[in-house]
């Protein structure tokens, strides 16, 4: 009896498994004609590298910069950007960003739930890779962008409000702008604005949104009277190094193939980063007398940001120049201008990403060359001032959308859920008040110091434990 059941079950299973296999055979035959395995490998690896930038890269970079009592909540911002956007993107985010164009403004919902997004290449977005490879690569960009914003409002935004912000901001700010810049028939793309790997879409959007968010939320309690010193600089350096490593996927992966353009983007990314780390450290050495590790890490990130829009359009020497300028400009922004204007961009999302991204987008208009990428354009220094104008339009529009979009979204969320942690919650730390956890244990006991005074919850409820004294 039992064996007859097993035989029937095996036959049924085989039959059921054959149906999709037969249906896919056609797709596979079609796809095999155009899919390039080298290109596909590179894009998948690049997608994984970009994922590494958010987790653990950005999480450690920001986590180390925050205070000990807020490290977990800061890491959670990046972690949940990964969680929430990984669901939002396949459902509607990808379709709004890259789906069939509606009036050059937004993608339609034809690709909702990844319908029509299969393994066949979409020639518009990578003729030699499966469409889903492009989709997952782009998903990683959509994830890291709102995670970058969290650096501005770290240590004071409540977690429920953050989740609402993630969803609304990704849908109403990121997705439309991604469509304008990268989507087929997007109006900025049609205009001729260049953004190779996300200078406007990722860095200006996140940086400027961060500035708006930190202004709307207000300063952290105690800013100016209490020291707000990074609690773990080795975390920061580890995070920055992972960002640098992952950025090769971010920029070189944006060539969407294992080709010369990818190599060029890889090379200029590395050169600009080193140059910016160098110039930041020199600037602070002259300004404050010491070359700091935090400066080297921050400068590297500033260089990575600035070269991003230009990565596929400029040669090595302009890349070094872009990096050198980026390091100094971003340093002055976070060390001088921020102090003068007195806004509380806690971990410098705006100072590095907003300013670095803006400089990079403008620099693309200056240094782009069709000798590097015939599909791009020539910049001002290669005889085409119009490119600079296009870049400035893209920058201005992106700033505008980030300012208005973020402000409205935060105000709407505030109607339903308080954005800002109370003073008491900030004093205690967001790790405990938002997540009920404590990052670091006492080295002697192996538990948190507070645990000595704690009574096991179950026993306390039962009233079985008497106080010791």
């Amino acid at each position: 009896m039992k064996s007859r059941f097993l035989r029937t079950f095996a036959l049924f299973s085989t039959f059921m498994m054959t149906i999709p296999a037969l249906a896919w055979a056609d797709d596979a035959a079609q796809a095999a004609a155009t899919i390039d395995t080298g290109d596909t490998s590179w894009v998948l690896i690049s997608a994984a590298l970009v994922m590494l930038m958010t987790l653990p890269g950005l999480a450690l970079f920001y986590g180390g910069l925050s205070r000990k009592k807020n490290v977990l909540s800061t890491i959670m911002y990046s972690f949940f950007a990964m969680v929430i956007i990984s669901l939002q993107w396949p459902l509607w985010g990808y379709s709004l960003s890259f789906g069939p164009d509606i009036n050059h403004i937004i993608g339609s919902l034809d690709w909702f739930g990844l319908s029509n997004v299969g393994i066949d290449p979409n020639p518009d977005y990578g003729a030699t890779i499966p469409h889903q490879a492009f989709m997952i690569f782009q998903m990683m960009f959509a994830i890291i962008t709102p995670a970058l914003i969290s650096g501005a409002f770290a240590e004071r935004m409540r977690f429920p409000a953050f989740i609402a912000f993630l969803l609304l901001w990704a849908t109403f700010v990121y997705d439309p702008v991604a469509h304008w810049v990268w989507g087929v028939d997007g109006w900025l793309r049609n205009l001729g604005a260049l953004d190779f790997a996300g200078g406007t879409v990722v860095h200006i959007l996140s940086g400027v949104s961060g500035l708006v968010a930190c202004l709307v939320l207000g300063k952290r309690k105690g800013l100016g009277s209490e020291p707000m010193i990074p609690h773990n600089l080795p975390f920061v350096v580890l995070g920055a190094a992972l960002l640098w490593f992952g950025w090769f996927g971010f920029n070189a992966g944006s060539a969407l193939g294992a080709n010369g353009l990818a190599v060029s983007a890889f090379v200029v990314t590395h050169l600009a980063t080193a140059a910016a780390a160098f110039s930041w450290v020199v600037a602070e050495w002259l300004h404050h007398g010491k070359p700091t590790t935090l400066g080297a890490a921050s400068g590297a990130v500033a260089g990575l940001v600035a070269i991003t829009p230009a990565a596929g359009f400029v040669g090595p020497m302009p890349a070094i120049l872009i990096g050198l300028i980026s390091g100094v400009v971003c340093y002055l922004m976070v060390s001088v201008v921020k102090a003068k204007l007195r806004y509380d961009d806690a971990l410098d999302a705006f100072g590095i990403h907003g300013i670095g991204g803006t400089w990079g987008a403008i620099a693309t208009g200056l240094f782009a060359s069709t000798a590097v990428n015939p599909a791009g354009g020539d910049g001002l220094f290669f005889g085409n001032p119009e490119q600079l104008v296009n870049q400035l339009i893209a920058v201005a529009v992106t700033w505008g959308v980030a300012i208005v979009g973020t402000y409205v979204i935060l105000k709407v969320i505030n109607l339903f859920s308080k954005l800002r942690a109370t003073d008491e919650e900030q004093d205690t730390g967001l790790d405990f008040t938002q997540h009920g956890e404590d990052a670091y244990t006492d080295l002697v006991s192996g538990s948190t110091l507070a645990a000595f005074a704690a009574v096991p919850a179950a026993k306390a409820t039962a009233g079985a434990v008497k106080p010791a004294l």
């Binding site: 602070e284 935090l294 921050s298 060390s335």
Partner: protein, 112 residues
């Protein structure tokens, strides 16, 4: 019996401990502390923002010793921990009524 409590530069702990061990003092309690005295603090800079840190890391070393050893122990600590610069630390002495070894119940000098 006398309790000796001294505040030292962190880098001097090993030297002081070795010198006291050589003299025959083995029991001590060591704590990492922060504090301020004559030594001015220092300035740390994070992304261009300056913070003056006026509580500096120090080591607190405590021991209880027989009265007859006090002057020699103080001499050893002073000689070993001195650099001549501000921030070398301080030594405090206190009279101790009694000491009891928990394991055996011994008291007084026997217990230390």
């Amino acid at each position: 019996m006398t309790k000796i409590e001294c505040i030292l530069r962190p880098g001097k702990l090993e030297n002081v401990k070795d010198a006291l061990n050589e003299y025959g003092i083995h029991g001590m309690t060591v704590t990492q502390v922060i504090g301020c005295g004559l030594q001015k603090g220092r300035t740390e800079v994070y992304r261009g923002a300056e913070y003056s840190i006026n509580l500096l890391p120090k080591i607190k070393l405590e021991m209880v010793i027989p009265d007859k050893n006090v002057s020699e122990v103080i001499r050893i600590i002073t000689d070993t921990a001195r650099t001549g610069e501000i921030g070398d630390g301080k030594i405090f002495t206190y009279k101790v009524d009694n000491a009891i070894r928990i394991r055996t119940g011994e008291t007084g000098d026997e217990a230390i």
